[in-house]
């Protein structure tokens, strides 16, 4: 590049005031960044490479996109694909709505009472998913479960909650919601407590109803928290696995099988690591598309 005579060369980025001011910040995020690269980025690249191979412990063979073609031609893949989205469509809105409703209701309670509710809703979050799944499995047992005991006592016909293709996904989704509420409630409560009370007082003076205050004041000011909760809840819903593995094994007849469950079966039961990696890549792109869409439509408007 031709230098204009007399011009002063721009300092390199590392000598700029911006970099010098933010150096400590860069240093602090460096370990996390290295961790992210080593344990997320590199494994993802390796998984993508493996998805283009037919896995063999003695030496894999490159087969291009054949694993993807095999998946797209398999009925069970599409069933699992559809089930995954069904889980997301049920879990995410139900979790968001209940969490928002509960937070907005207990916001007006005393601090002590808020603490009690926070602890009560957060308790399932810290419990082992294995324990939760096993207890629910006993409760939902078709022949001896507590739920069907009450159904029979009320004169109804016992329901095969986990063995019926129509009920298995809604039931599992609701179980997931029970231990997914804790964190959103804590976050929404913290955000709600940060909203200036004067907005609500002004609205009261103008005669606004509870719903109007909620719609015009609470929701817009909660947008950043809503976005975070939405994205994290969606990612978790896409990755529903433990309760399926423990409670239904993907059944009955793949009715509760999800992409992540199929990844597990392909990899660790069938030893088809190439196909499992291909499914993993597909799942990644599904989650990424959803995440980006949520950021675009829900992010706070400046």
């Amino acid at each position: 590049m031709k230098k204009t005579p007399g011009a002063i060369a721009a300092p390199s980025f590392f000598r700029t005031a911006h970099f010098k001011e933010n150096l400590s910040g860069y240093l602090f995020i460096l370990p996390g960044l290295i961790f992210f690269v080593i344990f997320t980025v590199i494994p993802f690249i390796e998984a993508f490479i493996l998805s283009l191979q037919r896995y063999n412990p003695r030496g894999s063979t490159f087969i291009g996109f054949e694993n993807y073609a095999t998946l797209f031609a398999t009925d069970n893949f599409w069933k699992s694909f559809g089930n995954t989205f069904l889980f997301v469509v049920i879990i995410v809105p139900v979790t968001m709505i209940i969490a928002l409703f509960v937070s907005s209701r207990i916001m007006d309670f005393s601090t002590r009472l808020q603490t009690v509710f926070r602890a009560a809703f957060y308790l399932p979050v810290v419990m082992s998913v294995v324990s939760i799944s096993l207890v629910w499995k006993v409760l939902l047992n078709y022949n001896y479960g507590v739920l069907n005991y009450f159904v029979k006592a009320l004169g109804g016909t016992p329901v095969n909650w986990l063995g019926n293709e129509k009920t298995v996904i809604p039931v599992l989704s609701l179980i997931v919601v029970t231990f997914s509420l804790g964190q959103p409630i804590i976050l929404f409560l913290a955000a709600l407590n940060g909203i200036d009370r004067s907005y609500y007082e002004a609205a009261d003076v103008d005669g606004a109803s509870w719903f109007m205050k909620f719609r015009k004041i609470t929701l817009p000011l909660l947008r950043p928290t809503t976005l975070y909760v939405l994205v994290t809840t969606t990612i978790n819903a896409f990755q529903t696995f433990a309760i399926i593995n423990l409670m239904t094994g993907g059944g009955p007849n793949y009715a509760s099988s999800t992409l992540l469950y199929q990844i597990y079966k392909q990899a660790f039961t069938f030893r088809e690591f190439g196909i499992a990696s291909a499914e993993g890549v597909i799942l990644f792109f599904c989650v990424a598309v959803f995440g980006v869409a949520q950021f675009i439509f829900v992010r706070p408007k400046d």
Binding site: L23, S24, L27, F28, L30, P31, I34, F35, P57, R58, N141, Y142, N143, Y144, N160, L162, G163, N164, E165, T248, G249, G250, G251, P252, N253, Y254, Y264, K265, A267, F268, T269, F270, R271, F273
Partner: protein, 451 residues
């Protein structure tokens, strides 16, 4: 400002160092990190599916794995340079743990399991063979048919046989006495019965909250139960050489139709699509089902031990063969239990693994199978159950043992295809004809992939 940067740099460095502190620097590809032979000490990892609690199955505070740890201690006393760590695997999740270990090259050195999965590991080329490792005396002590059952397709023997078991039905005699139907149970000869006789017995006992039996389709475990029932009709899911799916035959459809009808008639517990093999063991122990199929003397020992420990009420147990239709002999999945040694890439470790495997499966350790009431595989232990009625009977019916096709590399996939089809059968999502056809299509596709 400068001090702040120095502090930040130092803190970042510390965080980085702590990040990598947990990472091992010892990966020889073929052994667990940190488990390599270091200096003179050889570290072996020994995994297994313990079949009884305590040393003999009767101790009140016994745990699964106590006997295996004792065996390891006995070996270490004689080999001071070998350190062995035992880990008990659960049936649910254990096979997956081994697969993960193999894929991540952290497989154990010694594993006790059956040939059902053993042949799969052999197919991946991760097992050591024993053909050149036995003295004449050691080979002569192994019962010939047991040695044949650990022979892989390439003629090598991929494990040391340890135990075997026939598979039949255990019956809660107390429930039949209460129902006044104990005379419906076979007691003579090889205790076989026809499906008609079997259904009469189920009908007599299925009342007052008790079901005759429970069918299993909750996951791929317990597939042998369904397969044993199908054989009574002359049906099977695979050809003997494992190369062809064979359920879609008139016999197969008849078997499936009959199995589904048991639930409709109230003889089998409803909800089979969510019932797993461990569930049925609990239901039998809790006297909620009167007959449990696809079990062996090992399970009998477990039920007796539960009663002795006070974990279940006491009741009398009798036994019978899986029923047949009068024209087909029937049969059961032969499922030998063996101990295998994995390659590790370390010669000393592999040698120790082979030696320990031989130690676990011979001498007094070969006789330990009695604590789970399993059949021994050594001629020197063949008098283990002299005078024991059920063990003698169990040994005699070993002639009905059938190779279900474990040796097929696609077997693990085939059994994973079977249970969803059975779920569709029991939920009436598919007819028996459609189940048989769809199973054959899916299973054959898996077999053909590996040809």
């Amino acid at each position: 400002m400068k001090k702040k940067r120095i502090f930040a740099a130092a803190l970042a460095g510390l965080m980085l160092a702590s990040l990598f502190a947990g990472c091992s620097n010892n990966n020889t590809g073929g052994g667990d990190t940190g488990n390599d032979s270091s200096g003179d000490t050889i570290n072996l990892r020994y995994w297994g599916y313990s079949r009884w609690k305590g040393l003999t199955g009767t101790e009140e505070n016994g745990e699964f794995g106590d006997w295996e740890k004792k065996v390891a201690e006995d070996y270490m006393k004689e080999h001071s340079n070998v350190k062995i760590e035992y880990e008990n695997l659960p049936w649910n999740g254990g096979p997956e743990k081994v697969e993960v270990a193999i894929a991540s090259k952290t497989q154990p050195d010694v594993l006790e399991d059956g040939t059902l999965r053993g042949f799969g590991y052999a197919g991946q080329g991760v097992l050591l063979t024993f053909d050149d490792e036995l003295t004449e005396e050691e080979r002569a002590d192994i019962i010939d048919t047991e040695w044949d059952q650990v022979e892989y397709t390439d003629g090598t023997h991929i494990a040391m046989p340890w135990a075997n078991m026939s598979s039949f039905m255990l019956i809660n005699k107390t429930l039949f006495e209460k129902a006044g139907a104990v005379d419906l149970l076979p007691t003579e000869g090889d205790r076989s019965w026809t499906f008609d006789e079997f259904e009469k017995a189920l009908a007599a006992v299925s009342k007052d909250g008790v079901y005759g039996m429970a069918l299993v389709a909750g996951n791929e475990q317990g597939d042998a139960k369904g397969m044993n029932l199908m054989r009574g009709f002359g049906a099977s899911i695979l050809s003997p050489d494992g190369s062809k799916a064979t359920l879609n035959t008139p016999e197969g459809v008849k078997a499936l139709t009959w199995m589904a009808s048991l639930i409709d008639k109230g003889y089998a517990m409803p909800g089979a699509e969510t019932i797993t093999a461990p569930d049925v063991i609990d239901y039998f122990s809790q006297q909620k089902v009167a007959i449990i199929d696809g079990v062996g003397t090992g399970n009998l020992a477990e039920f007796e031990q539960r009663m002795e420990r006070g974990d279940s009420e006491k009741f009398d147990i009798t036994w019978a063969l899986t029923p047949n239709d009068g024209t087909h002999e029937g049969g059961f999945n032969a499922n030998p239990v063996c101990v295998m040694a994995f390659k590790s890439g370390d010669e000393a470790r592999e040698k120790a693994a082979i030696d320990f495997t031989k130690f676990v499966t011979s001498g007094e350790n070969a006789k330990a199978v009695q604590y789970a009431k399993l059949m021994p595989t050594r001629k020197s232990a063949s008098d283990l159950y002299e005078g024991d009625e059920i063990m003698t009977w169990s040994s005699e019916i070993m002639k009905y043992g059938v190779d279900p096709g474990f040796i097929s590399p696609a077997y693990s996939k085939i059994r994973a295809v079977l249970y969803p089809e059975l779920q569709a059968l029991y939920t009436k999502a598919k007819t028996p004809e459609r189940v048989a056809a769809d199973f054959d299509t899916a299973a054959q596709a898996e077999i053909d992939k590996l040809k």
